[in-house]
Symmetry: C2
Subunit: 328 residues, 2 copies
């Protein structure tokens, strides 16, 4: 077993994951803590979750063995530009007993690296929001969308939820009985599938139920769309097909036609066996028939790999990837 | 000159207009005051603007001559359901010296009546928001859209502004020089037409400029789209065509195919000689070739006509319409 260890962290909005690995792939420890996105939670809180995850991963590891670390997080650029936030992360790093330096990368790069070791390629992420990014020499290059729910996030969970409500409102405007998906959206929002004698009253109740909460919570309805699509429900299928086309369009803004480097699919809507992941794979295969399509996997391990590949003793980063990052 | 007078009020978000007319169409007085929408301004403030407009219109009129009145306003149903709001309007009415009863109608019905005397038809309104409504026997029947900017208002001023920003962001994502309309949107939002060396930085600045303000203020950008379309700019033309198709689709949710009763176009985007009005007229003529298309006109006069037509001495409301409501 290699004496050298590396640490990787994947800091997300709902959880923070840490992994400590040796250079031959032995998993020395893993850790998990609460959401630590510094943009949404504040840098102090994010640093506290970071420390908790690090301590768990390093419980049985002499921290002086750790020679490199990478923290992947959304809004990495904003953290790096904020001296106080950076200081909070520095303190957490030192409090975990670590003496080596660390680098901070965007979550999109870490998602990319969790799916492939190829230095150049594309990553497409769809969860509550949606963003596509080009990767050049394992650095984020141009991005497309990621503009937030008001102006972008086309094909995201927010988009699916909003469009499902819009289809329901169209049924109500037309005084048509809502379809299967629309009925489920209606029940989720109003607690009943019943439509008032004046469908406008039900439409107004739907609009009020949505506007009482932050808009981004429309993403909570996305699983209803996925389930409907899986069951062959026409509106669910149509929305998933439309979302897949929008996501592929975002990719086409930054990825050249005919490109053959890999595309990694990440985010809750595109990892695993979801209807949207299947539809996106078809769209991408149609536009880039010679590109390998990969799923994002273990972000903490990918972050550890990104840290390790800069060590002088690492001469074959691709082989190291197969040792450190389990296939998704 | 008829001794009988009627009063009409058109209460909008930015202004309140009042008109006092005799039954043979003599204009006894007009009044204007600030925005009085009770939903956005509160019923007390709305009632104060109502009183100011009424006093101006009645400055030279013995108020006991006034035999009927109609107040048209957005959110009429909410006002009628609110005893305090209703009491504030009652007080304003009495403070103006009026002893006759008054009725409250939705602004969509008043807009309809400002364009036609036909008891049945359709009204389509596009300003900051967008709504279509069927009129049956001069009462609002079913409506379509009007669901607000988050879930609806398809083809509205908000929609045009948002889509114009989205086209700009697409240009920036693609690292293409922004088109003419996109450049104007960029200047309006960031104060410069310059794109940063990393176009992503400009895209982020655009998103931040929009999200600093209430979303509905995206409608401020709609005039840029209209001007671009008038100048033949491709993105402006495309957005106007798309908005017109969406507005016509909203109408189709409630108006039967083959209907031949009139369609009245109202709201700041559809009255007057705007590119969107022209495009909507074409869309509607394609779908309902035998329907007369009218423009909404003087709302206060239309409200006065709605008040007058219930008086026992009025036997021919259509002729009365030609006397009281000037053609748009």
């Amino acid at each position: 077993m290699s004496d050298t260890a590396v640490v990787g962290l994947d800091v997300g909005g709902t959880s923070t994951r840490a992994a400590a690995l040796t250079l031959d792939g032995v998993r020395l420890g893993v850790g998990r803590a609460g959401g630590g996105n510094p943009t949404s939670h504040g840098a102090e809180r994010a640093a506290a979750e970071l420390l908790a995850a690090l301590r768990a991963a390093l419980a049985d590891v002499d921290p002086t063995r750790v020679r490199a670390g990478v923290i992947g997080l959304a809004g990495a650029g904003r953290l790096l530009a904020d001296p106080q936030g950076r200081a909070a992360f520095d303190r957490a790093w030192a409090d975990a007993g670590l003496r080596c330096p660390y680098a901070v990368h965007g979550d999109a790069l870490v998602a990319y690296a969790s799916g492939t070791a190829a230095p150049d390629g594309t990553v497409l992420i769809a969860g509550t929001g949606a963003i596509a990014a080009q990767v050049r020499d394992l650095r984020l290059d141009r991005t497309a969308d990621g503009h937030g729910w008001l102006l972008g996030d086309a094909g995201s969970g927010f988009w699916l939820g909003r469009e499902a409500v819009r289809r329901l409102l169209t049924d109500l405007d037309r005084a048509q009985p809502p379809g299967d998906l629309a009925r489920q959206v209606l029940a989720e929002l109003t607690g009943t599938t019943e439509v008032a004698a004046r469908p406008r009253a039900t439409a107004d109740a739907v609009v009020q139920a949505v506007t009482r909460r932050p808009p981004v919570e429309l993403a909570r309805l996305a699983p209803l769309v996925a389930t409907a699509a899986r069951d062959g429900e026409p509106t669910g299928l149509a929305l998933v097909a439309e979302a897949a086309a929008l996501l592929a369009e975002s990719v086409s803004r930054i990825r050249p036609p005919g490109a053959t480097d890999p595309v990694v699919l990440g985010g809750g809507l595109l990892t695993g066996d979801t209807p949207l992941a299947a539809a996106v794979r078809l769209e991408l295969a149609r536009r880039w028939p010679d590109a390998p399509l990969r799923s994002a996997g273990d972000g903490a391990a990918a972050a550890a790999w990104l840290a390790a590949r800069d060590l002088p003793e690492v001469t074959d980063p691709a082989t190291l990837h197969t040792l450190l990052v389990p296939p998704a």
